[in-house]
Structures are given as structure tokens and as C-alpha cells.
């Protein structure tokens, strides 16, 4: 495998809170092969968004703490980069789209100006060039009458439309990596499908690698090459999409699949993982999932499991898996 | 805002006429004496031509803006000052112990034998600034305006004693004024010498709205100065009148005079120190000390005996007075004989005793004495005639000495003793307690009141102080709605005590309802006595009688301290005014500050 476009090594991002330190991301490892899509799956609060924002360098400090680890983007460690270097990467080589298209666009500027802003900044375009290119990008993301839409304000557009604008904005500088943080969660199902479709098409056109963050395993199958499952600030399982869907190993992953309404599944009843995600202020000792896990034993309480290979490109962090207790 | 001393009638009368007054100025302190200016003496100033044209700018800090420059209707103090400077006056007042008049626009005037008629000859060739000559018609027109009730001139008193139809125009430059009877000559001359109004310009103006006529802001004038610019509440600029046709010596020697409206005393003072203004009036004693020490370039002038403070004791019971006044409505000369007397101040012995209990020297020492040089800017007062009028002022009156023991004895004799042991004297169950009102916004009077309060307390008199806003204060004085009042007069330079001391309800300035038939008789005699010496003797007698009765506790006459930049030579700052006559002021070429 060639050099991954992005590799996270033991990434830690913490937050200083009033009553302690929240270890939102606490030792994350994964890599995205160039030109491919990695999905990061997990419940809310598992640290997947914080990981993405850490890559972007958008964690405000304070209260954030860059507690360690490496973010290797094309071999360069972004954690060691200064703010100017990070900025040069941000929006240019790594772009991001967000969950809330309704609020992610500045209400007081025309969408064209907002798209053009990054172009002028990173590509040194003039206002006119940027404007032209914005129309081009709007066209690319499938917005009808782009030359007219380009001069509209966000409030004049629907949610799906705005997400397309966001995608156009993100892709305008032809980034190497696109981070999509639950881009479809806030949209209704038909629009969701259109957006996913669009992302797949554009990935082919632009050759962009994608870091796709979602809590929706159904979406993962449609877009990803690889999947990383996160729980309580850590990656608990990492595999290519086929492997993971065929043979999930970690009890948590299995739980996630079981809670998925699957039309192919014979079982009509959904299973729910008992309990809630532990507070990042006070993770349980040992395995962080043990309180919700049916297979936990003393070792799980005493020793923190690490990612171990269980097959080609498939790693799992679970004592039970290792010991074959599953 | 009112000035400290309130006597509108006399203040206005004084400023309505105009002219030059060669009273020697009295520079203050060693500084001024050491730095004796190279004045050539009044009347010998270099002419404009010798100076090579009008020079420099004089900036005057003034408390309030002018309002209306129409002489027959103006009321603001600033108006009078400006009118005096922009008009050639009818006669030229001079003050040396008494007010006398020399010729100016009136070339000469002759009284008849019994002093009831005067023939006036106008100077020829004096023009209005629009080029029209000043003639008898203008004078006649002016008096017609004053007499016309529709105009509602505040100067109607001027024509009160004139025969209807006065003045009579003899020819274009001769008039005759006729009077019903003779009275003090200076006053009569003041009454005939009112600043004229242009007949040709205003003859058709609506008299009811004369105040609103454009003339009030942009007058046609006869004097050495003209109003060049007037920004309301900001500044007024006077410049030499190029069309001036008066005597050469009267031509303006200063290029610009700016009257800068600065309502705040502190600002006026600071700008004087900074050099932003050249003249500021009414400087406080403490500040005068500092100016003398730190600012040799500012010359301090004392305007002597300009105003006085006194305590008025209301001799009538207000409630009863009010009731009786209702009964006598419409009667001009009803007397107060049947009105109930005030239980305390109705009695002369009590008033005298109270005067003995007030330490005027301490008041002067605390309020009007320099802490640095020890110089006293005041003098004990014994009458309403200013000591500046030295021929008429009764110098023989011995001021009542401070003697609390005697005061207490006198009060006991009058029946006031402390029977209940509460520290306050009483008589028939009534305490010797009263309220003294004074106007707010006058720190000197406020402090004086407090000092007197303490002194009276020492002899068992309880006095409360009520500070009242100035307009209301004056209103209540006139209505006699008070018990005791700490008030003041500006010095009137016409000798006439009628308004203040003659009995009869029409004299609204007789605040205390003072009634002494002897004094009434003396006043009546005096005002119709044309002979100056006899006249003065009568006034002196009246003053002595009044002082015996102590309707007031007379306190002190005060100097006004005026600061002027020393480059202005022949600056006339005198009892008449601080800058009513600017044409004599000049600046030596080497000291000119503002060059065009």
C-alpha cells in the first residue's frame, strides 16, 4: 500500500472542563489510503467529530488541549505545524463539510462570495475569477441555474441545496482530503441519497480521499472503502468495509449492527446496546466498553485492550476477541 | 442666569447710556504696581493712524450671550455692553465721585432756570452706518418708542417725568425736553440721553413686534464698532465701523473684539490663564491670588464698591399684608400703617440688636479677603448709596460695632429672654426663631448665611436658612413673602433712594416695607432739589436716619476683580463697567499677539 494520505498515530485531544479533563479523543490510530474513503462510525460523544476537527486544527485552545499524537498528512505532521502552515493546508488540501447545512453558511453573504473566499485565499484568484469558478462548482454539485443561484443568500435555499453549496465550497480548491462530518444527518432521506451519490461521483471526478464521519452504518456501506469504529475516544475496530459488514468482531460493532434496521435481516426485533457512552471525564478503567459489554471479565477491568490484527487490514481492540471468548 | 447682585432697574439704567469715564484704575497687588504700563494717560492714547491701523484681537469671556441689540427693548446684561460700544452715545458719562456727563452726540445742552426744560444741540455730521445723518427725528422717534406702551420698553421710567410730547423738535439738530418737575440733574441728563434708534429705518416697523425686528440682531449703528459676526451662544465679533463719522480720537484701535460666551466660571478662568481669552470678570479672591503669583501677564483691576450684600428684615406680617393689599387694590399710595407688624422685625430695637450680633468684619475676612496678601476686597456698608459716590455717601455714619453682649441686653430690654432654658430666646411663648432666605447658586451668600447663623445662635436666636432659586427669590422679595432675606444690590450711580426707601406700596423695591415719614419727606425734598450741595446734604440725612432704623443689617460693599491681559493699554475697567468703552483700548505694535 502506498503512503496513506492521512495517518493518525495515538492522537489525543482533551478538553479542560470546569470539573476535570474530558479525554474526548484519547489515542486514536487510523489511516486513510490515498483516493479512498474511510468511514468513522460511532455514537455521539465517541470522539469521531473531535478527531476530524483535530485534523483540521479547528479545536479551540483553550479549552482544548492537544495532548499528543501525530497527524500525518502526506507524511507531514500537522500537530507540529504552526498556525500559518495549518491554515495553508486547511480548506486547500483538507476541506470539510459539516452536519448542519442550515447554519453552516454565513447568512449575510451571498453563496458565491462564500465559495469564492477560499479560492481567492488559496488559489489567488481575483474576485471575478472566483465568481466564475463558483458558478462552475455550483454546476458541478448539481445546482440548477448556477449563475443565478450564485448571487443568492443562504436563506433563499433549501437544506439539501445548502449542503451542495457546502460541498462545492469544500471541493472548490481541489483538496486532497475531504472530511465529511455527518453531512447527511440533518437531511431527509431522499436528499441524503442524492448527496451521497454526489459525493461518490465527485470523488471519482476529483480523486479526493474522503474521511466520512457518521453514526449511520447504513450510509457507511454506500460510500466507504474502510471503516473505523470509535468508542469513548478510541478506535475499537478497523477493517475494510466488506470485512466489517461480513464479520464484525468487537462486541460494540456487533451491537451497532444489531441495532440497525435491516430489511434483509430475518429478525424483526432491534437490539439495543444497554447503557450509555461513559462520560469522557471519567472513563472506566481497562476497557471502556466493559460496563455495557456482555463478555467483560476482570482482565477487561484491569487492562486496556489495544488494537490487534485479526485478519488482513482488520484490527480489533478487545480482550474477549483475543481470547476467543466471543 | 442672574448675577449675584440683583437690581435690574438700576443695572439697566446704568448701562443704557454710554460714554467714556476717566476713573483711574486700581491695579491689584505689587505685581501690577511694579509693572506700571506705559500708558500715555486717558485721552492721550495714540490715534489709529499713529498705530498704523487697528491692531490685534481682544477676546472677552462673557457668562451669557447677548440677546437683542435694540436699545429701547434690550434686557440682557451683555446687550447693554455691546450697545454701548457699537453706538456713539448721546452724552459721555464721567465718573469721579459722582456721575457727570460730557458732550458726545449731544454737542451741548442748556437747562432753563428752574431746571424743567433743556435744549439739546446735536453734533453735526454724525452718520448711521448706512450713511444717513443722525438728526432730531431719531431722538424724537426713540422717546416715542419708549413712551409707547405697545413697545413695552423696560425703560418707560425714563419718560415718566417728562411732559407729554417731549422732546419737541426745533430743527434738524435741536430739540427741547420738558419735564413736569425738576429732580436730580444727573438723573435728568441720563433720562434725556438714551441711545437713539434710526427713525428712517424703523419708522414703519410694527411696534408690537419690535423686539423681533431684524434690527435686534443686525443693527444700524453710529459707534466705532460694528457687529461683524454673531453665532448664538458661541461668540460675537465686533470690528471697527468703517463708516464711523465721530471724532478721530473715538475711532476703534483694536482690529477685532470677540465676546466669547463661556457660561462656566472655571472655563473662563482657565482660558484667561491659557491666554485664550484676554478679559474675564468676577474673579474670585483665591483665584486672584494665584493669578497675581503665576501670571504676571494678567493685570488685575478692582472695580470698587460695585455691589453690596445686606440682610433685609421684613417689618410686616406677610399674611396680613397680603390680605390688606387685596383691600387696597388699585390704590397707588396706600400706606402700611394698619398692617400687622412682624412679631420680631417690626420692632426697631430688635433689628438694631440683631445688627449688633452680626460680625460683619468676620464676614469680610472670611469671604472677601485674600489669604495670601491679606488684602480686603470689601468695605463696610452703611447705606444703599455706594461709597463711590463720595459726595453723596454719608461717610459720618459710624457702623454698628459687633457686640453680642450688648445685643443680648438690648433683646432682653425688648422682652426677649430665654425663659424655658432651651437656649433660644422667647417672648410671650414665641421663640426668637425665623427663616432667612437667600438665592441659591451664590456661594458667598450661602457661606455668609451660615456664618451669621452661628453668630446669631450665640445670642440665642434661631435662624434657619432657605436657599431659593434666584428668580423665585426675587419674586418673593417683591411680594414681601419672607421674614428675613440675605440679598444684594448693584450700585446705582444715579442718586435716588425713592424706590428702596420711600413708603407707599408702588415702590416695589421697598422689600422691608420701611416706613419713616421723616425719610419720606427727606427723599421728596431731595429729588426735587436741583442744587447739588443741598441735595447731597438731604441724601446724607436720609441715610443717617435709615441707618438708625436698621431696616437692613448693612453688610459690605464689594470690589469686582477683573483680569485683563497687560498688552491692552488704557483699558478702562471702572465702576461704570468692565468694558463698556473699548475704543480707548490699544496695543503697542511690539506686543500685538494676533496679527492678520
Amino acid at each position: 500500500m502506498s503512503q496513506p494520505i492521512l495517518e493518525l498515530r495515538d492522537l489525543r485531544t482533551w478538553f479542560r472542563m470546569e470539573d476535570g479533563i474530558a479525554k474526548a479523543v484519547d489515542g486514536v490510530n487510523y489511516a486513510i489510503p490515498s483516493g479512498q474513503t474511510l468511514s468513522v462510525v460511532g455514537e455521539s460523544g465517541s470522539g469521531k467529530s473531535v478527531t476530524a476537527l483535530s485534523v483540521m486544527g479547528l479545536i479551540p485552545c483553550p479549552p482544548g488541549i492537544e495532548a499528543g499524537g501525530e497527524i500525518l498528512f502526506e507524511g507531514q505532521d500537522l500537530r507540529k505545524a504552526n498556525e500559518a502552515q495549518r491554515r495553508a493546508v486547511r480548506g486547500n488540501q483538507i476541506a470539510m463539510i459539516f452536519q448542519e447545512p442550515m447554519t453552516s453558511l454565513n447568512p449575510v453573504y451571498r453563496v458565491g462570495d462564500q465559495i469564492g473566499e477560499a479560492l481567492r485565499l488559496h488559489k489567488g484568484m481575483t474576485g471575478k475569477e472566483a465568481h466564475e469558478y463558483s458558478i462552475h462548482m455550483l454546476d458541478k454539485v448539481g445546482i440548477p441555474k448556477p449563475s443565478q443561484r450564485v448571487d443568492e443568500y443562504p436563506h433563499q435555499m433549501s437544506g439539501g441545496m445548502r449542503q451542495r453549496v457546502m460541498i462545492a465550497m469544500a471541493l472548490s480548491c481541489d483538496p486532497r482530503l475531504l472530511i465529511a462530518d455527518e453531512p447527511t444527518t440533518a437531511l431527509d432521506v431522499t436528499i441524503q441519497a442524492q448527496i451521497l451519490e454526489l459525493m461518490n461521483t465527485l470523488q471519482e471526478d476529483f480523486g479526493t480521499s474522503i474521511l466520512f464521519i457518521t453514526h449511520d452504518l447504513g450510509v457507511v456501506a454506500e460510500v466507504s472503502d474502510h471503516v473505523a469504529v470509535m468508542y469513548a475516544g478510541k478506535v475499537v475496530e478497523h477493517a475494510d468495509v466488506v470485512t466489517l459488514y461480513d464479520a464484525p468482531q468487537h462486541p460494540y460493532t456487533i451491537g451497532l449492527f444489531k441495532s440497525l434496521p435491516d430489511i434483509e435481516s430475518r429478525s424483526a426485533k432491534l437490539e439495543v446496546i444497554p447503557g450509555v457512552v461513559p462520560s469522557p471525564l471519567e472513563f472506566p478503567s481497562g476497557c471502556r466498553f466493559r460496563n455495557r459489554c456482555a463478555f467483560a471479565n476482570e482482565r477487561c477491568a484491569a487492562e486496556e485492550p489495544v488494537l490487534r490484527s485479526v485478519g488482513e487490514g482488520h484490527t480489533v481492540a478487545c480482550h474477549a476477541v483475543e481470547e476467543g471468548r466471543l | 442666569m442672574l448675577r449675584h447682585a440683583i437690581w435690574p432697574a438700576l443695572v439697566l439704567a446704568l448701562t443704557a447710556c454710554s460714554g467714556e469715564t476717566p476713573t483711574p484704575e486700581t491695579p491689584t497687588g505689587d505685581q501690577a504696581a511694579a509693572d506700571e504700563p506705559k500708558d500715555r494717560g486717558f485721552g492721550n492714547e495714540p490715534t489709529v493712524d499713529e498705530l498704523g491701523g487697528a491692531q490685534d484681537t481682544l477676546v472677552i469671556a462673557y457668562q451669557s450671550d447677548a440677546d437683542n441689540l435694540t436699545s429701547v427693548v434690550y434686557q440682557a446684561a451683555a446687550d447693554g455692553m455691546i450697545i454701548d460700544n457699537i453706538n456713539y452715545s448721546s452724552v459721555n458719562p464721567e465718573f469721579d465721585c459722582e456721575l457727570t456727563y460730557g458732550p458726545e452726540l449731544f454737542d451741548s445742552w442748556e437747562w432753563n432756570e428752574d431746571q424743567t426744560e433743556v435744549t439739546v444741540n446735536l453734533r453735526k455730521g454724525v452718520n448711521w452706518s448706512d450713511g444717513t445723518e443722525v438728526t432730531s427725528a431719531d431722538i424724537d422717534f426713540t422717546y416715542d418708542l419708549i413712551a409707547d406702551p405697545v413697545v413695552a420698553s423696560p425703560r418707560m421710567a425714563y419718560v415718566e417725568n417728562m411732559v407729554e410730547g417731549t422732546p419737541e423738535v426745533i430743527d434738524s439738530h435741536t430739540l427741547v425736553f420738558k419735564f413736569k418737575h425738576a429732580y436730580d440733574r444727573t438723573t435728568m441728563e441720563a433720562h434725556i440721553s438714551f441711545t437713539p434708534m434710526p427713525h428712517h429705518l424703523l419708522k414703519d416697523a410694527d411696534r408690537a413686534t419690535l423686539r423681533g425686528h431684524e434690527f435686534g440682531t443686525n443693527p444700524i449703528i453710529t459707534g466705532p464698532w460694528k457687529v461683524a459676526d454673531w453665532k448664538r451662544n458661541e461668540r460675537i465679533v465686533l470690528e471697527p465701523n468703517e463708516a464711523f463719522t465721530g471724532a478721530d480720537k473715538d475711532k476703534a484701535r483694536i482690529q477685532r473684539v470677540i465676546i466669547k460666551v463661556l457660561p462656566e466660571y472655571a472655563t473662563r478662568l482657565v482660558e484667561l490663564e491659557n491666554g485664550q481669552v484676554d478679559l474675564a470678570q468676577a474673579i474670585q479672591v483665591e483665584d486672584a491670588d494665584r493669578l497675581a503669583a503665576e501670571h504676571p501677564e494678567i493685570k488685575l483691576y478692582r472695580r470698587g464698591w460695585r455691589s453690596q450684600d445686606y440682610v433685609a428684615w421684613n417689618q410686616l406680617d406677610f399674611e396680613d399684608y397680603k390680605a390688606k393689599k387685596e383691600l387696597h387694590v388699585g390704590e397707588e399710595d396706600w400706606k402700611w400703617e394698619d398692617v400687622d407688624r412682624h412679631p420680631i422685625f417690626g420692632d426697631t430695637a430688635t433689628r438694631v440688636a440683631l445688627s449688633k450680633a452680626i460680625d460683619v468684619d468676620k464676614l469680610m475676612n472670611d469671604l472677601l479677603t485674600s489669604k495670601v496678601t491679606g488684602e480686603v476686597y470689601a468695605k463696610r456698608s452703611v447705606s444703599t448709596i455706594t461709597p463711590a459716590l463720595c459726595n453723596v455717601h454719608n461717610n459720618d455714619i459710624e457702623p454698628i460695632a459687633f457686640d453680642p453682649t450688648a445685643a443680648k441686653a438690648d433683646l432682653a430690654a425688648a422682652g426677649w429672654t430665654d425663659t424655658d432654658g432651651d437656649g433660644v430666646l422667647d417672648k410671650d411663648g414665641e421663640k426668637l426663631a425665623f427663616t432667612m432666605m437667600t438665592n441659591s447658586g451664590n456661594p458667598r451668600r450661602a457661606k455668609g448665611a451660615i456664618i451669621m447663623q452661628a453668630q446669631l445662635k450665640d445670642i440665642g436666636v434661631e435662624m434657619e436658612i432657605e436657599a431659593i432659586e434666584a428668580n423665585t427669590f426675587f419674586e418673593r422679595l417683591r411680594k414681601k413673602d419672607y421674614e428675613a432675606a440675605l440679598s444684594g444690590w448693584s450700585a446705582g450711580l444715579f442718586v435716588d433712594m425713592t424706590d428702596i426707601w420711600h413708603s407707599g406700596d408702588k415702590y416695589e423695591f421697598n422689600f422691608t416695607s420701611y416706613y419713616n415719614p421723616d425719610v419720606d419727606a427727606l427723599i421728596e425734598q431731595a429729588i426735587s432739589e436741583p442744587d447739588p450741595a443741598k441735595n447731597a446734604e438731604l441724601w446724607k440725612q436720609a441715610q443717617a436716619k435709615i441707618y438708625e432704623d436698621q431696616p437692613y443689617t448693612f453688610l459690605y460693599w464689594m470690589d469686582e476683580i477683573v483680569g485683563v491681559h497687560e498688552r491692552f493699554k488704557d483699558a478702562k475697567v471702572d465702576v461704570l463697567s468692565a468694558f463698556r468703552d473699548l475704543r480707548s483700548w490699544w496695543v503697542p505694535a511690539e506686543e500685538v499677539k494676533y496679527k492678520r
Binding site: - | E264, Y265, A266, L269, V270, E273, Q284, E286, D287, R290, D366, G421, D422, G423, V424, S440, G441, P443, A446, K447, I450, I451, A454, K457, G460, I465, A467, I468, E469, N471, T472, E475
Partner: protein, 378 residues
């Protein structure tokens, strides 16, 4: 450790790490000591002045009672810190107030403001002991002398002790602030609740009046009123207070109205109506108490602004008539002496700032406690 407070109130708090309350309490005790040292020696003559000095005076007695009251308060607080009062459900019935209290205690600036306000009030109450001289007595020192030992804030042109004047001024200025705001809060609550409850034409009429008064510059309106009625004797402290009260109610009425509007839709009001309770009863018993918290917040801020407006009026010579020393009037007096005695202007002005600042701190704290969402807004 907590019982240390019984020896010196505040010490217990301080040792337990509650610095603000600890220092606050100790400050109160300091005031008490100051008052005692400065005033108790003169106590007999203050309480029983000889007849020739005006006889009986109420002020020293009020000060004495206040002194005892404040002492009791300090030690009571210290005691309660040591042994908290047992939970009494009756006392804490109203959860709105309990919550407010709890939230407020957490707000450090608010508590700070409260202590400051208390210090000012205590100072005003204890003034007859603390102030070394009578405010209007002249020649207690040389005139226009700079601040020095014996005349902490210097003297004015009459040789009056400026510190004493400023202290007595605090009594006047604070009382005016409190009473005027009490009037305007009552009036505003009345107008607001009527407008909110009855709605319709009554509402729009009353709100129109409110808007009308709000669109006028308040100071100019006040000047006009006082100016017009000056000659009719309007310049008494009583009228100033009333006029200030009558022109300050608009903010309260708006707040109460919006509260009532939301409250009256709630079930319990509907229930009251169904029970056939008279309208006034619903308003007075059920609506107004529930709308009161924001009024109190607004009132504490309004006291500050009322003090400012009163000072401005006095400064223009249209406030409480002299010689009564209000802060604004002293500043005005000092204007003539800016060159020779700047302290006359400086100190009363600083007192105004301190007082207004305390009330603003307190008000901000109360508001944050009431509605954490509003933090930092105003």
C-alpha cells in the same frame, strides 16, 4: 474552623476558602469598628445634644440601632455558616426564589456587588458616627485645603469637611434612589400587569404611553417638569423623588407585561379563571408574584441609573435644593473651584461611580442568576 467566624465574622468563611463573603463580612465588621472608634466617644452628645444645639436628633439614634443591627447580622451570618439552619420546607416553598438565591451565590461578581451595596448602605446608616463633622457646619478646617489626615477628602470653600458632606450625601442619594425606584417599580408593575392581563385596547393604549415616554430623553423631560414647577416649590426632596419615580417606570412595565403575557396562558391561570376568581385577585395573588424576579433585577439596575439622573439634576441646580448635600450638588459646587480645589469635584463623583457600579454589579449578578442564558447581556 468554621467557628472562627464567631470570633471575627468572615474569618470562618475565609479559612474555608470563601474569600468574597469572608472579606465582605470582615469589611462590615471593619465599618462597625470604625463607627465605634469615631463615634462612640461622642455618643452622649450625639444622642442627647444640649438644647442649644438643636435638641433631639433622630439620625444618631437610627445610627445606633443600625450599628446593633449590623453587628447582629454579621454574627448571625457567621453562626449560620457554622451551623446552617435546618431545612424548612415552608421557608423554601417558592422554588423560584430558592433557585435565584442558589444561582446568585455562585455568581462572584454579583456577590461582590451585593457586599459593595451593603457597605454603602451601612456607611450611610452609620454616617453620624463615621462622619467627623456635621455636613453643613463651616470652618471645621481651613477653606479649600487638600485631602489630609483629619479631612480625608479635603475641605470646600466654606471650610466644610468634604468627607462628612459626601457621607451625608450618600444617605440622600441612596434614599432617593431606593424610594424613586420603589415608586417606579410599583407603578411599572401595575401598568405592565394591567396591560398584559387585559390585552387588547388597554394593552395597546398603555404600551403606547410607555413607548411615548421612552422616546423622550428622560433628563430633558425631568428638567422640564422640575423647571416648570420650580416656582411652585417643586424643588423639594419629596417632589424630586416622586418625579423621578413617575418617569422611570416604563422599563418595568414592559418586563412585567411580557411576563404576564406568558404566564396568563399557563394552566393555573386558566384554572383560576374557571374557578371564577376576580381578575384583580388573579393578577395580585397569582400573576404578579411570579413575575417579580425580573422586576427586582431591573430595579437593582434602575437604582444605579436613578442615582445618575438625580446627580445630573442636582448638577444642573434643579435637584434637591441646597444646602442639602447630594453628590451631584457637591460636584456642581466644586465646579467653580476646579483650579483651586479639584477634590471637591473628584470625590463625590467617585462616590457616584462606586455606588452606581455596585448596583450594576448586583443587578448583573441577579440577572445572571435569574437567567443564565442572558449572561453578559444587558
Amino acid at each position: 474552623m468554621k467557628q472562627a467566624g464567631l470570633v471575627l465574622p468572615g474569618l470562618g468563611h475565609l479559612l474555608k476558602g470563601d474569600v468574597i463573603n469572608g472579606l465582605g463580612l470582615m469589611l462590615y465588621v471593619g465599618l462597625l469598628v470604625w463607627a465605634a472608634v469615631a463615634g462612640f466617644g461622642r455618643l452622649p452628645e450625639l444622642l442627647f445634644p444640649p438644647a442649644d444645639q438643636g435638641g433631639f436628633q433622630l439620625h444618631p439614634w437610627v445610627a445606633l440601632v443600625s450599628w446593633i443591627g449590623i453587628a447582629a447580622l454579621c454574627w448571625h451570618t457567621a453562626f449560620r455558616f457554622w451551623k446552617p439552619a435546618p431545612f424548612d420546607p415552608e421557608v423554601d416553598k417558592n422554588s423560584q426564589w430558592r433557585e435565584l438565591k442558589k444561582q446568585f451565590r455562585r455568581n462572584r461578581t454579583g456577590v461582590f456587588g451585593l457586599h459593595f451595596v451593603n457597605v454603602l448602605i451601612f456607611l450611610a446608616l452609620l454616617t453620624p458616627f463615621i462622619a467627623p463633622h456635621h455636613p453643613d457646619v463651616i470652618d471645621v478646617g481651613p477653606s479649600l485645603s487638600a485631602p489630609q489626615w483629619g479631612h480625608l477628602m479635603g475641605t470646600d470653600e466654606f471650610g466644610r469637611d468634604l468627607f462628612s458632606r459626601v457621607m451625608y450625601g450618600a444617605r440622600i442619594s441612596l434614599s432617593i434612589g431606593f424610594i424613586a425606584v420603589a415608586i417606579s417599580a410599583t407603578l411599572g408593575t401595575l401598568v405592565g400587569s394591567i396591560a398584559g392581563f387585559f390585552g387588547g385596547k388597554v394593552d395597546s393604549g398603555l404600551m403606547w404611553v410607555t413607548d411615548l415616554l421612552l422616546s423622550l430623553p428622560r433628563l430633558v423631560l425631568l428638567l422640564a417638569i422640575v423647571g416648570f414647577f420650580r416656582s411652585a416649590g417643586a424643588q423639594s426632596i419629596f417632589l424630586i423623588v416622586v418625579i423621578l419615580g413617575l418617569t422611570g417606570w416604563m422599563g418595568v412595565s414592559r418586563i412585567v407585561r411580557s411576563q404576564i403575557l406568558s404566564l396568563k396562558e399557563q394552566d393555573f391561570v386558566q384554572a383560576c379563571r374557571a374557578l371564577g376568581l376576580p381578575n384583580w385577585r388573579i393578577i395580585v395573588v397569582h400573576l404578579v408574584p411570579n413575575a417579580l424576579a425580573p422586576v427586582i433585577v431591573h430595579a437593582s439596575l434602575a437604582i444605579g441609573s436613578t442615582i445618575l439622573v438625580e446627580a445630573a439634576l442636582s448638577f444642573l441646580g434643579l435637584g434637591v435644593p441646597p444646602p442639602t448635600a447630594t453628590w451631584g450638588a457637591i460636584v456642581n459646587d466644586g465646579r467653580e473651584y476646579m483650579r483651586s480645589g479639584a477634590w471637591i469635584t473628584v470625590f463625590p463623583g467617585l462616590m457616584i461611580v462606586a455606588a452606581v457600579m455596585s448596583f450594576n454589579l448586583l443587578g448583573d449578578g441577579l440577572r445572571d442568576a435569574l437567567d443564565p442564558k442572558l449572561r453578559g447581556r444587558h
